[in-house]
């Protein structure tokens, strides 16, 4: 609201404060209700943002963030001096792009396929089954993987018989990323279709009828009607996904990582968890985490720019 407008509404100077007090008194219950929520956001969202300051200090818990020694950009320099930073970044980017390329289109394809199903009962039953894995915790997904792909597991035995040699699904660094991406696809593809199916229900069926009268076959209808209908949803989801391009799902990764696949399972997230929470190098890992957050913001903003250039609404 412009300042002049606000002054016209509420007056200025003393008058402004008087009116404000009256308003607050009139709506006192609304303001009282806001207290828990506002405290929550300040303490659990904004206090940690201020806490980023320890990434520029040599944080000592007993001194607190105000009295700890100021180190400037020391931790950032130290990270790039280790030369292992490239391994972490590479692992992060490879896993992330693999998962974008493979997991992002999966729900779109599945939604388009479901959209072509005419038998309502079949559609309902399959959808019910497809949504199940979303509600299964990552610990259980990984546990099922251990049981099925482990040395006593059915898939391990099956592939050993078929190939004549065994594949170490849980330890082999070459298989690791495929396992992670596979688990994500198994868990979230069905659930991911909902948003695209929702977009598809908004398509005016008259468009299809008109296209059929014009002689469009199924592929042409898909290309000219269905795909444009979900285009903006796809772009929006992709912009959102780009924001988390450096998030590799540490809760998932630390369950799957072990000493054998360390060379590929160590992403920035896992690095921050291992060195920060496990080893207590708070300042160092806060600095690394900050770089990650900044990249995310930059990615969202630029992906949104690209979306605008493509003529889409984007995120904002």
């Amino acid at each position: 609201m412009a300042r002049a407008e606000r002054q016209a509404m509420y007056g200025k100077g003393k008058e402004y404060w008087r009116r404000l007090l009256i308003d607050v008194a009139k709506n006192k219950w609304l303001y009282i209700m806001l207290i828990p929520g506002v405290i929550y956001f300040l303490v659990f969202k904004y206090l940690p943002m201020w806490g980023i300051i320890i990434g520029f200090e040599n944080y000592a818990p007993f001194l607190g963030p105000l009295k700890s020694e100021w180190r400037g950009l020391y931790w950032f320099q130290r990270f790039f001096a280790t030369r292992k930073w490239w391994d972490y970044l590479r692992n992060t980017l490879v896993l992330s792009f693999m998962s974008i390329i493979l997991t992002f289109p999966a729900p779109i394809i599945l939604a388009l396929m479901l959209n072509e199903i005419r038998n309502i009962h079949f559609k309902k039953i399959t959808q019910t089954l497809l949504y199940v894995p979303h509600f299964i915790s990552i610990v259980i997904v990984v546990s099922i993987t251990y049981v099925i792909f482990g040395a006593d597991g059915i898939i391990y035995k099956l592939t050993t018989q078929m190939l004549g040699h065994s594949i170490d699904y849980l330890g082999d660094p070459g298989v690791f990323r495929w396992m992670i991406v596979g688990q994500s696809i198994w868990k979230e593809t069905g659930w991911g279709t909902i948003i695209f199916l929702a977009a598809l229900t908004n398509v005016d069926t008259q468009l299809y009828e008109a296209a059929m009268i014009d002689g469009a076959n199924r592929a042409q209808r898909l290309w000219h009607i269905t795909l444009p209908a979900i285009r903006s949803t796809v772009v929006l989801m992709l912009v959102l996904r780009m924001g988390s391009v450096l998030d590799t799902g540490y809760e998932h990764l630390i369950l799957m990582s072990n000493s054998l696949n360390r060379s590929v399972s160590q992403t920035l997230d896992v690095f921050v968890y291992q060195n920060g929470i496990v080893n207590g190098q708070y300042s160092y890992t806060t600095a690394v985490g900050l770089m990650k957050s900044l990249v995310s913001v930059i990615m969202v903003v630029s992906a949104n720019k690209v979306a605008h250039m493509l003529g889409e609404e984007g995120l904002y």
Binding site: M49, M113, Y250
Partner: protein, 319 residues
């Protein structure tokens, strides 16, 4: 039958031919290619749907198998002999039973806190005349796109607030999901203003209006988000892993992780058991714990699926 009639209403006369049009993207007037596509489409979707449930069914069946069968028969889905040994062991084990109780406690308390904070914040924000509304709105939006990161969040909870080792560390940091709160706020804003005004005339203040008028009207929405929050609490292990210090307080998911992922046999727990107890069947125990941890969600899932889907749709269309 009625459905079929409805589908065949749209018949169009075109160049002397009758073209029948169905309600969806697929016409009744079909080419061979279209039929082949349909067959493959049904086939692939059936396969995909089976892949999602087969691993779960496999685990459930195998949890009832005897350890001997698991070791001797190399591959099977349905066991020859059924046994409840694994479950007997689980329900005799303090550790697993206690963690089951812990998970229920965390889920119930956590969801109550979530709903309370979400509703009390969403309701005032849904009032357009509230002063300071846009500032609070921005505060929420910014927190959705930028965060302090894992370590500052951990330090705030564990050392600055001193919540380490208590359940508060699991319940409070996620008390409000900004995304869910915005959707609930949009829903509240859609409730006709007249209802609330008449409640005010009858002597209600904002608090009683919320409790007596708005909340009863929002039950489906509250059920949806309550369930999202509840599933989130039931399924989480990370908070418990980093914040809890006493393993008597561990939730089921963390115990499951310790049993399977880190392959820590619950040796300490076994020694407490009756010495006459048979050596626990290890492989089937893993499967039985997986089943026990999944069952509560699978039990409520069929009833609540429609709410879940509705919740996502609301978010998709308005968010």
């Amino acid at each position: 039958m009625a459905k079929k009639d409805k589908q065949e209403i749209n018949s169009v006369q075109l160049n002397g031919k009758t073209v029948t049009i169905t309600n969806g993207p697929v016409g009744v007037y079909r080419t061979a290619g279209s039929v082949v596509f349909d067959i493959f489409n049904y086939l692939i979707i059936t396969l995909v749907a089976l892949t999602t449930v087969l691993p779960i069914i496999y685990i459930i069946f195998n949890s009832f198998a005897t350890e001997l069968e698991l070791q001797t028969r190399s591959m099977f889905i349905i066991p020859h002999t059924w046994s409840l040994d694994a479950y007997r062991y689980i329900f005799a084990s303090n550790k697993i039973l206690r963690s089951f109780g812990n998970s229920i406690l965390i889920t119930v308390c956590g969801t109550a806190i979530n709903l309370f904070c979400t509703v009390t914040m969403a309701y005032p924000l849904s009032k357009k005349y509230l002063r300071g509304r846009s500032a609070l709105h921005n505060m929420v939006i910014i927190s959705m796109f930028f965060s302090g990161g894992m370590i500052p969040g951990y330090i705030v909870v564990s050392s600055w607030l001193g919540l380490r080792g208590t359940y508060w560390a699991l319940l409070l940091p996620g008390a409000i999901s900004a995304y869910n709160m915005m959707i609930v706020k949009n829903f509240f804003a859609g409730i006709p203003q007249e209802l609330e005004e008449s409640a005010h005339l009858d002597g209600c203040n904002d608090l009683t209006t919320l409790a007596r008028i708005v909340l009863p009207l929002s039950l489906p929405v509250l059920a949806t988000f309550g369930l999202f929050y509840a599933v989130g609490h039931w399924n989480s292990y990370f908070g418990a892993m980093i914040y809890l210090t006493d393993d008597k307080m561990y939730p089921l998911q963390l115990i499951l992780r310790n049993i399977i992922v880190t392959a820590e046999a619950s040796a300490g727990d076994m020694s407490l058991m009756d010495p006459n107890f048979v050596e626990p069947p290890k492989e089937s125990i893993k499967m039985a714990v997986i089943v026990v941890a999944t069952v509560p969600i699978m039990c409520i899932y069929p009833f609540l699926q429609k709410y879940f889907v509705k919740g996502v749709m609301v978010g998709a269309l308005k968010g």
